[in-house]
């Protein structure tokens, strides 16, 4: 009897298409993503970037993963988030603001009007008045974390999550594992 034919070599893994966006956040999570430094080179073998402030592509095509930083504080955020949810198979809430509203959500227990007055009017110099340019997106009454607006598949907490945590999460996903942050990588602050 002839020896069994050798198994075919595994097909090269398809690179994951990743979109990223910053909603009501400070861009710290994107900076932390860039903090992966030389590991980005290895990551580029696993992922390819779609819509992202890093590529300057404005609208996502069909994606595997959307990494979304920041909470939802205005109508434009809602729009961008829904577009990403439609485009991506997996949505990851990246960082404290996306996970629980973060520091922007500290405005939630004061009225929106009260906040606007305090910031723009009640100042020693009288302030310049509350901005009302029609180009400005309408503010939501409260700042919301992503999961209160769309379905979210994974949450990656931290303010920002460390480069190590983002790297672990993405490589776990790209290599087909359930992402897991061990104690040292899990931080809410």
């Amino acid at each position: 009897m002839s020896a069994p034919a050798p198994l075919p070599a595994p097909a090269p893994r398809r690179r994951l298409r990743v979109a990223t966006a910053s909603l009501a956040g400070c861009f710290g999570c994107h900076m932390s993503f860039l903090d992966m430094d030389e590991r980005l080179v290895g990551l580029i073998d696993l992922i390819v970037l779609d819509r992202s402030p890093l590529t300057d592509i404005k609208h996502p095509g069909p994606c595997d993963i959307a990494l979304v930083e920041g909470g939802v504080c205005n109508a434009e955020n809602v729009h961008v988030l829904r577009e990403l949810r439609r485009a991506a198979k997996v949505v990851i809430a990246l960082g404290a603001c996306a996970v629980n509203g973060g520091l922007p959500a500290m405005r939630n227990h004061r009225g929106l009007e009260d906040i606007l007055r305090k910031v723009y009017e009640e100042r020693p110099d009288g302030g310049a008045g509350i901005p009302d340019d029609p180009e400005l997106p309408l503010l939501t009454d409260k700042v919301h974390p992503l999961h209160e607006v769309v379905r979210v598949d994974y949450f990656l907490p931290g303010c920002p999550p460390s480069a190590d945590a983002i790297h672990k999460f993405l490589t776990d996903l790209a290599e087909g594992r359930t992402p897991r942050l061990a104690d040292a990588l899990l931080h809410f602050d």
Partner: protein, 242 residues
């Protein structure tokens, strides 16, 4: 007649106890970790947070209030019980305003450390974002009820240790809150002193001594050294120093 051994079995481990000890006290003294939040070894058990809930001979009970008795088979670290604990913690997070990046207690906070230990990545529920009181009227102590989890440790410490009863609980259900015993309701108008136990017992960032912020930097704080299940100050050290 054979002596009945003072031993409970927790997750298959034989844990000896002194008569009168609770299951939690016996476990911690033996270096066996059961997560807990409203329990503190210096104060009478309270049994309010339910994080320490275990299954004893098939029934649920709070390990911090149940006396240890011979013949008890206790389940604690099972996936089902851990999942229930995670759900409890998620409810505590959304019931308050827990913005850890802006909280001085971060890294020293028991609620946060328990959430890390339970691998809580998400608040899961919709947030309440309650409108709670911030009281900065005391010269040495800040009261920020946004982060209060109603463990009543401050109530117990002030009443039983300081003999002052500065704090009390008022209201029911979602209206339940900590109130301050002074004619104005302000902390600055009580006889709370910075030396009082009540000023230092809060497991979260609701009662904070003023002017000591960041004296220990983030990264060098109690629970930065390791998971609370290993570094809890309530846990007896094992022989290898852990």
């Amino acid at each position: 007649m054979t002596e009945i051994e003072n031993v409970v079995v927790i997750d298959g481990l034989r844990v000896p106890f002194e008569p009168g000890q609770t299951i939690l006290e016996a476990a911690l003294a033996a270096g066996v970790w059961i997560p807990h939040l409203c329990h503190h070894p210096d104060f009478a058990p309270h049994g309010s947070c339910k994080v320490c809930t275990v299954v004893v001979n098939g029934r649920n009970g709070s390990a911090c209030t149940m006396r240890a008795l011979p013949g008890q088979e206790v389940a604690s670290a099972t996936p089902e019980i851990q999942e229930r604990r995670r759900t409890l913690l998620q409810m505590l997070f959304v019931e308050g305003n827990h913005f850890c990046p802006g909280c001085e207690k971060s890294g020293n906070c028991t609620l946060q450390a328990l959430a890390y230990d339970a691998e809580m990545l998400t608040p899961r529920f919709d947030h309440f974002y309650p409108n709670r009181r911030l009281d900065g009227s005391h010269p040495d102590v800040l009261l920020d009820l946004d982060r209060c989890i109603l463990c009543e440790l401050c109530v117990r410490a002030s009443r039983d240790v300081d003999g002052k009863s500065v704090f009390a609980v008022a209201g029911r259900g979602g209206d339940c809150r900590i109130v301050v015993n002074s004619p104005t309701g302000r902390l600055g108008d009580t006889d709370l002193a910075i030396e009082d136990a009540a000023a230092h017992v809060c497991p979260v960032g609701a009662i904070l001594p003023k002017r000591v912020g960041f004296s220990v930097p983030i990264g060098a704080r109690v629970f930065d050294a390791g998971p609370i299940s290993e570094v809890s100050p309530h846990l007896a050290r094992t022989e290898d120093g852990r």
